[in-house]
C-alpha cells in the first residue's frame, strides 16, 4: 500500500527504534517473553505500514456494501439503521414466554429470538420419558401448533422478525410459524425471520441432532428450495460458529469450521439441483463475540471476506447477495463467571462492542446471571440497555468500519483469513465438513483447544478476573429464575386434550404420507405443513421421520 521508498524509510526507522529499546528491555522486560493470542497468532510489539506492505486496498478491504465485503454488507451500515437487537429468550410454557416477549418488545427490542426447551429441540413431546426433568427448562416447550399459537398471541408476525434456534426439527417449527401466520392473515411471503437449521454443528459442537447426516442434509435442502419459492424473505439457515466457539474452539477455528459447514450446505443444495443464486442470498451466519477485542473484530471482517471469495470463486455465484455474509452475533456465554457476576456486565459490553465494530446485522447480549440460570427480567434489561448504549451513546455507529486501516487490525484480519483458509483446505482433503465430523477431526480440534484454554487458566497463564485473580468472599446469588416442574404436567394435560379433540384418523393418514415421502425424494415441507395444520405433534412428526431415517450415532473422540 506504500511506495518502496517510504517502506525502506519506515524499516530503517523501526530498526533504529528497536535498537534504542534494547537496554530498557534488558532492565525492564515486558510482561511476557512472547505474546501469542488464543488462535496461535504471534502479536508484535507495534504494527506499522510495513505490516500492510502486501495489501491491495481495493482487493483486500474495498468499500462497504461491495465485494469482498470486508467492511460490511451494506454501504451505509449503522448510519442507515442499527443492527437488530434480538435477545434469545424462552422458558417454561408458551404463556410465560409470550409474556417475556411482550416485555422485551415494550423495552425497545426490535426482533424476537425463540429458545426452545431440549425435548422440543430433539423432537420429543413433553410426555416422552426422556423429557422428564427437561420440560420448559432451557427454553419454551412446544408440542404442537396449539402451543405456537399461544407463543405468538398478540404479536403480529407481519411486523416482527423472528429467529428460531431450532435445528434437527427446523422444518416442523418453520411449518408451525407459517401456520400461525396463516391464522393471523399474514402470507408466508411476508414472514421475516431465521431458522438455525444447521445440523453439522450439532454433530460437532452442540449436540441436538436427531437423524444421520444424509437425510438431515436432504431436509435442509428441501427447506432451501421451499423457502426460495414460498417464504422468500426467510433466512433458511443460520450457519453457526457460536457453539463451535462455546465448545472451546479458537477464533480461527470458529471461522474455518463454520465456513466449511457453509461450503457443505452449498454443495448439497447444488447437488440437489438448485441454482446457487436462488438460495445463497438467504444463507445467514451466527458468530460468537469473545474476549480478545481486536481479534474478534478482525475475525468478523476476515469471515466476511473469505465467504465472499468462496462464493464467487468456488461456487461461481453471480448475484452479489449470494456473496454477502450477513450474520447474527451473541456475546460469549462461556466467558461469564459465576464469581462476581456483575463483572459480566462489563465483559458483555466490550464483546458487544466488538460485534458492532465487526459489522454484525443483529446481536444478543448475555445477561450477567447466565452462569447460574436463565436471565431474570432485571438482568436482561441491563443486557439490552448495553446494546442501546453502544448504538446511541458511543459514537462508533456514525461511520462505517471505523477500524479499517489500523495496521494491527488489518494484519490480524489477514492472519485470520489465511489460517482459516488453510483449515478449510485440510477439511477439503478429508472429504468436506460432514466427513471431517464423521472422522472426529473437528470435534478433536475443538476439544484440544478447550483443554489448552482451561490449562492456561489453571497454570495462571491466563487471568480470569474474580476466578484466579482478584477473588473475594461472596454470598451465593438469590432470586434466580426457576422453572416450575409443574410445566411438564400441564403440557401433558394439553397434549391429552389435543389428542382427544383433533381428527386422529386424518393425523394418522398424513403421518403415513410423510413416511412415504421421506422414503422417496419429494420435498418434505408441504406435507410437514399439512401435518402441522392437522395438529400432529412435533414428536409424532419426528417419530415418523425416525422410522424412515433412523437416528445419528456419534463417534467417540476421547482418548487415543
Amino acid at each position: 500500500m506504500y511506495d518502496r521508498k517510504t517502506i525502506e524509510e519506515i524499516t530503517r526507522e523501526y530498526q533504529r527504534w528497536s535498537d534504542k529499546l534494547e537496554p530498557t528491555l534488558a532492565k525492564r522486560p515486558e510482561r511476557k517473553a512472547e505474546f501469542i493470542n488464543t488462535s496461535g497468532i504471534p502479536i508484535k510489539r507495534v504494527y506499522d505500514p510495513t505490516d500492510m506492505d502486501d495489501f491491495d486496498f481495493l482487493r483486500n478491504i474495498g468499500l462497504p456494501g461491495e465485494y469482498p465485503f470486508t467492511r460490511g454488507v451494506q454501504p451505509t451500515m449503522y448510519r442507515g439503521r442499527f443492527w437488530t437487537m434480538r435477545q434469545y429468550a424462552g422458558f417454561a410454557s408458551a404463556e410465560d414466554t409470550n409474556r417475556r416477549y411482550r416485555f422485551l418488545l415494550e423495552q425497545g427490542q426490535t426482533g424476537l429470538s425463540v429458545a426452545f426447551d431440549l425435548p422440543t429441540q430433539i423432537g420429543y413431546d413433553s410426555d416422552h420419558p426422556l423429557a422428564q426433568g427437561e420440560v420448559g427448562k432451557v427454553g419454551v416447550a412446544i408440542d404442537s401448533l396449539k402451543d405456537m399459537e399461544t407463543l405468538f398471541d398478540q404479536i403480529p408476525l407481519e411486523k416482527v422478525s423472528t429467529s428460531m434456534t431450532i435445528n434437527a426439527p427446523a422444518a416442523v417449527l418453520l411449518a408451525m410459524y407459517i401456520a400461525v401466520g396463516e391464522q393471523q392473515g399474514t402470507a408466508s411471503k411476508d414472514l421475516r425471520g431465521t431458522i438455525q437449521n444447521d445440523i453439522l454443528k450439532e454433530y460437532s459442537a452442540r449436540g441436538t441432532y436427531i437423524f444421520p447426516p444424509k437425510p438431515s442434509m436432504r431436509i435442509i435442502t428441501d427447506i432451501f428450495a421451499f423457502c426460495s419459492q414460498e417464504v422468500p424473505q426467510w433466512n433458511s439457515i443460520s450457519i453457526s460458529g457460536y457453539h463451535i466457539r462455546e465448545a472451546g474452539s479458537t477464533a480461527v477455528q470458529e471461522v474455518a469450521f463454520t465456513l466449511a459447514d457453509g461450503i457443505a450446505y452449498v454443495e448439497a443444495a447444488i447437488n440437489a439441483g438448485l441454482d446457487v443464486d436462488e438460495f445463497a442470498p438467504r444463507l445467514s451466519f451466527f458468530f460468537n463475540a469473545h474476549l480478545d477485542f481486536l481479534e474478534e473484530i478482525a475475525k468478523f471482517r476476515a469471515a466476511r471476506r473469505l465467504w465472499a471469495v468462496i462464493m464467487r470463486e468456488r461456487f461461481k455465484a453471480k448475484d452479489p447477495r449470494s456473496m454477502m455474509m450477513r450474520f447474527h452475533t451473541q456475546t460469549a456465554g462461556c466467558t461469564l463467571t459465576a464469581q462476581q457476576p456483575k463483572n459480566n456486565i462489563v465483559r458483555v459490553a466490550f464483546q458487544a462492542l466488538s460485534a458492532v465494530l465487526g459489522g454484525t446485522q443483529s446481536l444478543h447480549t448475555n445477561s450477567m446471571d447466565e452462569a447460574f440460570c436463565l436471565p431474570s427480567e432485571e438482568a436482561v434489561q441491563v443486557a439490552l440497555r448495553t446494546q442501546q448504549l453502544i448504538a446511541h451513546e458511543s459514537g462508533v455507529t456514525d461511520t462505517v468500519d471505523p477500524l479499517a486501516g489500523s495496521y494491527y487490525v488489518e494484519r490480524l484480519t489477514q492472519e485470520v483469513y489465511d489460517r482459516a483458509q488453510k483449515y478449510i483446505e485440510t477439511i477439503d482433503e478429508l472429504g468436506g465438513a460432514a466427513a471431517a465430523i464423521e472422522k472426529g477431526y473437528i470435534q478433536r480440534e475443538i476439544q484440544d483447544s478447550a483443554y489448552r484454554y482451561q490449562k492456561e487458566i489453571e497454570k495462571d497463564e491466563r487471568v480470569v478476573v474474580g476466578v484466579n485473580r482478584f477473588q473475594i468472599e461472596e454470598e451465593p446469588p438469590k432470586d434466580l429464575l426457576r422453572v416450575d416442574p409443574a410445566v411438564r404436567t400441564s403440557q401433558i394435560k394439553r397434549l391429552e386434550k389435543l389428542r382427544s379433540e383433533r381428527n386422529n384418523d386424518k393425523v394418522q393418514d398424513i403421518l403415513g404420507d410423510l413416511r412415504k415421502a421421506a422414503g422417496g425424494s419429494d420435498n418434505l415441507m408441504p406435507i410437514i405443513l399439512e401435518a402441522v395444520r392437522a395438529y400432529a405433534t412435533l414428536g409424532e412428526i419426528c417419530d415418523a421421520l425416525r422410522d424412515v431415517f433412523g437416528e445419528y450415532q456419534p463417534v467417540s473422540t476421547l482418548g487415543g
Binding site: 422428564q132 449436540g207 483443554y451 451465593p476 476421547l558
Partner: protein, 133 residues
C-alpha cells in the same frame, strides 16, 4: 491407594443437553492424572448410566449437566444405584447447578458438586481423597 488398579471413572452426561466441553476437559484431566475414564456420550438416561457403571465396575461416577434437569435426574440416578445395591461408588456432579440446590443433592448421596470456575486439579485431588473403595 492400596491397590494397584487404576481408578476407574464413568464420566456421564445425563439428560438432553449437548454441552460436553466441561465433561471432556475433565475427562482429559483425569486421564492425564493416570485415571481410566469411560465417557458415556450425550443423552444418557439414569438407567443407562447406572447400568454402564455396574458393567464397567467403576469407582467413581462423574455427572455433568447444564440443562437444569439435575433436580430430577441426579436423585433418580442415586435411587437406581441404591436399588441395585451399589453403595461403594463415589458420585460427584458438575455443570450449571444453583448453590441453593446443592444441599438437596448431597442429601440424596451426591458427594460433591463442582460449579463453573473449578480447577481440574481440585477434582483430581477430591477423587483421590474420597474414594469409597
Amino acid at each position: 491407594m492400596t491397590n494397584t488398579r487404576k481408578i476407574r471413572i464413568l464420566a456421564a452426561k445425563p439428560g438432553l443437553d449437548g454441552h460436553d466441553r466441561g465433561v471432556k476437559v475433565i475427562a482429559n484431566a483425569l486421564m492425564d492424572a493416570g485415571m481410566e475414564v469411560i465417557y458415556t456420550g450425550l443423552r444418557q438416561s439414569p438407567e443407562q448410566i447406572v447400568e454402564t457403571a455396574i458393567q464397567e465396575d467403576v469407582d467413581v461416577i462423574a455427572l455433568s449437566i447444564l440443562s437444569g434437569a439435575h433436580d430430577f435426574l441426579f436423585p433418580r440416578i442415586m435411587e437406581l444405584l441404591k436399588e441395585k445395591g451399589v453403595t461403594d461408588v463415589l458420585v460427584i456432579g458438575g455443570g450449571i447447578i444453583p448453590d441453593e440446590d446443592i444441599g438437596e443433592l448431597k442429601k440424596v448421596g451426591i458427594a460433591e458438586i463442582f460449579g463453573p470456575g473449578t480447577y481440574t486439579d481440585d477434582i483430581v485431588t477430591y477423587i483421590q481423597e474420597n474414594l469409597k473403595r
